[in-house]
Each structure stands twice: as C-alpha cells, then as structure tokens.
Subunit: 200 residues, 2 copies
DNA sequence: TATTTTAGCGTACAACTGTACGCTGAAATT
DNA sequence: AATTTCAGCGTACAGTTGTACGCTAAAATA
C-alpha cells in the first residue's frame, strides 16, 4: 500500500522543497525565486513542477509550515533543558540563536514573509509565532506570579524581541552576536520585572 | 543659476520616486517593482530612467532616505507635543501609528527592506532606526533615573516593540489596532519599569 | 550667434518567465 | 494479461524584463 510510485513522488516533492530552501539566502528571497530555477535545481522539468504544487505560492506555504515545525521541535527540546534546571530566559535565547545558525534559511523565510506581499503568507507566519507566544505565556502564567492577560502581553513582548534580535544576528559576526545576546537578555529581564510588577 | 532645465530634471526625478512609492502596497514590494513599470507610471520612456538613477537599487536607497526623513520630521513634531505636557509613551506611540496610517507605503518600505535581500538596504534602514533609538535613549538618560547603558537598551527594546506593532497594525482594522496599541503601551511600561529598576 | 550639453525617445535584442498541450513508459489496478 | 493512471518530459508561445545604441530638440554656455 506504500507504493513505489507514491514514494518516489514524495521524494521529488521533498527535492523541490529543499531546492527552494537552498536558493534562499541573504541575497535571494522567496518572492524572487522562479519556478524554473527551483525545478532545475530539483532535477525535474519546469512543467513537472505542477504535478506537486499548483503554484509557487503553494510551495511557499508548505515551506512556512516546515520552518514552523523545525522551530517547534527545537523549542520542545529547549523546554526539556529548562525542566532539568536551566534558566528560562537564557536557555530560550540560546536555543533560538541555534535555530538561526543551523536553519538560517528557514528563519529567513519566516522573517521575510512575516511582512511579505502575500496575505496568506503573513497569516501563516503569524500563526507560527502565535504558537510560540501562547506556549511561553502558558509557562509564565503557571510558573510566575502573573495574571493571564499580563502573562500574554509579557510573552508577546519577549517573543518579539527575541525574533527581532535573531534578524539582526543574521548580519553579524560572533562578537557582535555576543553583545546583542547580552543586551537581549537584559531587555527580557526588564519585561519580566515590569510584568511581574503590574501583573499582580 | 536655478536653471529651467535642472528644475525640470528634479521634477521628473521626484515623479519617479513618487511613482515607485505608489506602486508599493500590501501586495507589491520594492523588489518586485520593475524599472519599466516605474518609468511608465512616471510618464517617461524606460531608457530615460537612467538619466536619474543608475539602478533600481539607487532609486530604492533614495526612497529609504526619504522615508527616514518623513519619520524623523514626524518625531520632531512628537517631541514638541511631549515638551508641552504629553505623556512620552502615549504620544510617541500615537505619532508612530499616525506615520503608519498616513505614509503606509513609506513604512512598508522600511519594514520590508529591513530584512530584504540587499545588504545596503538593510544597512540604510538600520541606520534610520538607530537614529530613532539614540534620540529616545538620550531622552531617557536625561529625564529618567537610568544610566547610559541601560537607557540605550531600554530605548532599543521600546523601538523594536513599536516598530513591530506598526507592522502588525498594517493588516488590522480600527478595533484590532486599538487593542494592539493598548497592549503595546503596557509592554512599554514593563520595559520602563524594569529598566529603571536595574539601571540604578 | 555658434557651439556644446543633455533629458528624453524609439528601436532592437537577448534572456528569462509561467504555463498550455500532448506524449511516454512504468506502476497500479482490474 | 489487459487496462488505466499519472509523474515526468519536450516543445512551443506570448509576455516581460533590463539595457545598449544612436537620434533629436531645447537649454546652457561661450
């Protein structure tokens, strides 16, 4: 029932996705990928592309899902580290920086399409980020003295800062990143402190 | 010495810039503007474009400067309002939201090119934002009990949150914007509180 | 007045894009 | 074994892009 055929199809589908991710870089964003180039890198004819996606848009949305998945998996791993005694703020920041380093093209996709030209893309990225915010908010609500509403606002602010720091880190060398991370941690402390003050 | 000729040249140059801004929208970003379309909207032949800019890139950088200028002017006006007795946080946020509303395409340019595919663009936008941060940091340093380093970090965090809230606001209706703004103000309060605590 | 400068135009071209259409061969189904 | 399904291919086409080149007319300069 697995099917030699269906299996092969899945394989070239994945090849298309990977080809597209490979072509993302600091100088190349999703919106200026071309269907033909992606097909070429995946090793299939341009017209075969349509056997897998109706559109470059459809490919892109799939890629956003995949990037979101990567991020969620990484964060699950972070929670494990936190549970076994790490600092919440520092562990989270480190994990996120790891994501940016090892999956920079996936991060770039989220980063850019968050304010890109397709409403569907923007919504998809916003959804991924919201997951993130809600998880952190849940943690803050149960583990710190902070009411629900303030926990959410606190979480939202923190995620925004972390995400933005990630964006800046993309263009920086190791030393600059170190300073950036240090500043970021202070800023997260501000928020934690302030939220706990106002949020009862 | 003003020159009928130089004057006309300046005029069509400005027409090109305005044409390009007009073609920006939620669905159209700078990187997928075409030289020909811009020239067409400005009412000149495609090849005449080169009499004014060597490149679409050069046009874009000019546009970033112009958007930065608009923003700085608006903020100077905000400081006047603050000096005559307004709340710093609320006045700044209101002014920024005004910018997004009345110059949304200029904001979109800054927003997108901040993480765009051209390093020069990214640097140009970063410069504009840094202006912003430094000005606010200066204010915080002199007007609140906060040492220099913490004032900078506080300012950076605040500007990041405001900028990002602006990005979200672009896709929202009046009611959602209201809620967003309210959350943003709380988040800025967190930061102010936390920074004043840690920053002596 | 004679000369130089230059903003803007039209033509032309090669490169590239998305995609419609029909074929093929092998896997899947009957 | 006969039939159907379908991933992938090649060809073809119309549309768009950036830009090289040389011309023109009017403004600026000498």
């Amino acid at each position: 029932m697995s099917g030699v055929r269906a299996q092969q199809k899945q394989k070239t589908r994945q090849a298309l996705i990977e080809a597209a991710f490979n072509q993302l870089s600091a100088e190349h964003s999703f919106s200026n990928l071309s269907l033909r180039e992606v097909a070429r890198e995946a090793g299939i004819a341009p017209t075969s592309f349509y056997r897998h996606f109706k559109d470059m848009n459809e490919l892109g949305l799939t890629m956003v899902d995949e990037a979101g998945l990567t991020l969620r998996q990484l964060m699950r791993q972070a929670r494990r580290r936190i549970a076994s005694g790490g600092s919440v703020i520092i562990t989270s920041v480190e994990t996120f920086m790891e994501f940016i380093d090892t999956s920079s093209n996936q991060f770039r996709l989220l980063l850019r399409e968050r304010s890109g030209t397709s409403k569907a893309f923007r919504a998809a990225v916003a959804r991924e980020i919201k997951h993130f915010i809600l998880e952190l908010a849940h943690y803050l609500e149960t583990e710190t003295p902070c009411d629900k509403h303030h926990a959410y606002m606190q979480s939202e602010a923190m995620v925004t800062l972390v995400f933005n720091a990630g964006a800046e880190a993309l263009d920086q060398d190791a030393q600059q990143r170190g300073e950036l991370t240090e500043r970021l941690i202070w800023q997260l402390r501000y928020i934690a402190r302030g939220a706990n003050h106002y949020g009862a």
